[in-house]
């Protein structure tokens, strides 16, 4: 009986090995693409991660992973080459009809492989995808997608990738010129002439704000603001006591946070903040403010508009004039009338 059991056990072990082996047996080696080596059209692009990516010919099938990349590709007029996008790419309208391949939270690698892309455009924030996609012999290009400078260099980079270097440079330059135009009077303001602004980018576990090094910080600075979150670098949560201490004159947030922001500004704790006192709380388009793509121009435009038409900016520019006094005195009155309601 004992021997029988032993044989049975060995039998099972062998069967198990066979099952696993049968599944593993067909393991493939990596499929090599033997493209003709013309050498004429082939080119190498250095991406934002410093990687040199060779192209034998301009990619015809591109997957864009990140809304800003999608917007840049369409801005470069190569939208027809985009065959798939991430779940959040919703601009321009054509992107809505394209197959979706997941988000940074859960990438649908099956879909990506199935779309047979020549290249997948990702950003530094999801750089881990590169390693995974290399596993499946899929080429990746990493864009910066972080700072305002990245917007220009990403446009040039994706131009290079698509084999339209000149158009890329031109589009980047155009955008830069336009940005310079609308910020001409505001970007070099002295520190004391700037408006203290809090930009609320999220309300996850407190007030989230873009600090130094983010493109929102650059947009705010160029619009004549002093971003009160700029004492931190990158994205972070700003404690409420810091906000009260730094006393923003204007608060700006994307539309989808209207409810959340109201909850904060209605708190007793926030009533002495100048922006709350003066009702300088403004809401802007979610997408244009969060995507380092060609629509930064729209974001820049609305920020200049909000900041420069705020009471604080006016009182600054009218410093020393008679109306200045009126400005200052009219404020408590406004607050009183509001408080009486």
């Amino acid at each position: 009986m004992k021997n029988k059991n032993l044989f049975l056990a060995i039998g099972i072990a062998v069967a198990l090995i066979l099952v696993v082996g049968a599944l593993i047996g067909p393991l493939s080696g990596t499929v090599q693409n033997d493209r003709s080596q013309d050498g004429e059209e082939s080119y190498v692009v250095e991406d934002a991660a410093g990687e040199e990516i060779p192209f034998e010919e301009p990619p015809e099938r591109i997957i864009s992973f990140m809304p800003s990349n999608t917007e840049i590709l369409f801005h470069l007029e190569v939208g027809d080459r985009v065959v798939g996008v991430d779940d959040f790419s919703n601009h321009p309208e054509e992107a809505l009809d394209l197959p979706e391949v997941g988000d940074s939270f859960e990438v649908d690698y099956e879909k990506i492989i199935d779309l047979e892309p020549d290249v997948v455009v990702i950003t530094e924030a999801v750089a881990h995808m590169r390693e995974q996609l290399e596993e499946y012999d899929i080429k990746t290009v990493v864009t910066g997608g972080e700072t305002l400078e990245d917007v220009y260099s990403d446009i040039e980079l994706l131009g290079e990738v698509c084999g339209i270097d000149e158009r890329g440079e031109q589009k980047a330059q155009e955008l830069k010129d336009e940005m310079d135009d609308i910020t001409e009077e505001t970007r070099d303001l002295a520190k004391e002439d700037r408006v203290d602004v809090l930009y609320i980018s999220g309300t996850f576990d407190g007030i989230n704000a873009p600090g130094n090094g983010t493109f929102q910080n650059s947009l705010l600075t160029n619009a004549g603001a002093h971003n009160i979150a700029s004492y931190k670098s990158g994205w972070s949560t700003i404690p409420e006591d810091e906000i009260i201490d730094r006393d923003p004159e204007v608060i700006i947030a994307p539309h989808h946070l209207e409810g959340d922001v109201k909850e904060y500004t209605e708190k007793d704790l926030w009533q002495d903040i100048t922006a709350v006192e003066n009702e300088e709380i403004h809401f802007v388009d979610d997408d244009v403010m969060s995507r380092p793509g060609p629509r930064v121009i729209e974001a820049q435009d609305s920020l200049v508009d909000i900041i420069q038409s705020s009471g604080s900016a006016e009182s600054v520019s009218l410093r020393g004039g008679q109306t200045d006094i009126v400005e200052i005195w009219s404020r408590p009155l406004e607050k009183d009338s509001k408080g009486a309601v």
Partner: protein
Amino acid sequence: MSHPLKDHFKKSLMVFGLLTLITSVVSLSVGSVNIPIKNIFEILLSRIPLIGGYFQAHTGAQSKIILQLRLPRIILGLIAGISLSVSGSSMQGVFKNPMASPFILGVSAGGAFGAAVGIYFGMLWIFLPMIAFIFAMTTMFTVFFLGRVNGRTDISTLLLAGLAMNFLLTSLTSLILFYSDPAERMSIVAWTWGSLSGTIWNEVWISLLVMFVGSALVYAYARDLNVIQTGETSAKQLGIEVEKTKMIQLISASLLAAVVISFTGVIGFVGLIIPHASRLLVGPDHRRLIPISALLGGTFLMICDAFSRVSGGLWVGVITGLFGAPFFIYLLLKNRGETGW
């Protein structure tokens, strides 16, 4: 001699062996891209030497999805299910308690913390299973010695020690999470919950090797473990090295759990309910319990992972918990009073 459970064992072995095979083939057809079963068979069979030539070879996306994405993932799922279940069977045997499992005793959390440390310091992936094993084994023996009262294992002290270690290590993992880059953060989160997403072949090879070594050790000392269960004093009189057997069982169990966890993250409940369910099917003899646990565990995890893929990336550890906990309660209710340890 001819115990009814013995016939049951053979039958169970065949049924579950077949079930494992069917499940692995069926789950190959599950995914966001629809690939007909016929194509899957052709892709697999055409890769087998000698007979491969008789089948249509598929190239391109479908073959890549099957061979480089689904197959390694499913096989790692199978291996993980087997390893965790064998690990659980071994621990339950050593501690003579059905509550013992790598998850409950904090061994899984130890492995996960070790791997988190590895990821945080940017270690090469090959070192992750090693550091995970070191931490898992350290946790195992800490809990083991904490649970020892007057030279005997006190089961409630042991379980509480496991609970304490679990909390401590999970907190430490969260601490690392808090201080890590957002890009690394995602991967740490993914495997505090367990995920088979993004499995590569190299991970399969290593965990396969460990699965065979660990299971073989556990199985080799299964008979001794059976005798120890009847009483340590009588086992010693029969010439069995009780402490050595226990050590080998616990080290193997830690190894099995840790290596899998370093690739997949903490997948709970498999090591708890599978050995328990198997014991109800074939009785407490470890020579029968271990093979049945292995087959049942492998099948269970493959099914849970199929759900994970269909759901669009819900962590597999969440699914094993959702299935596992109610099933465990059902077993408790159904067999209340009938099957003592």
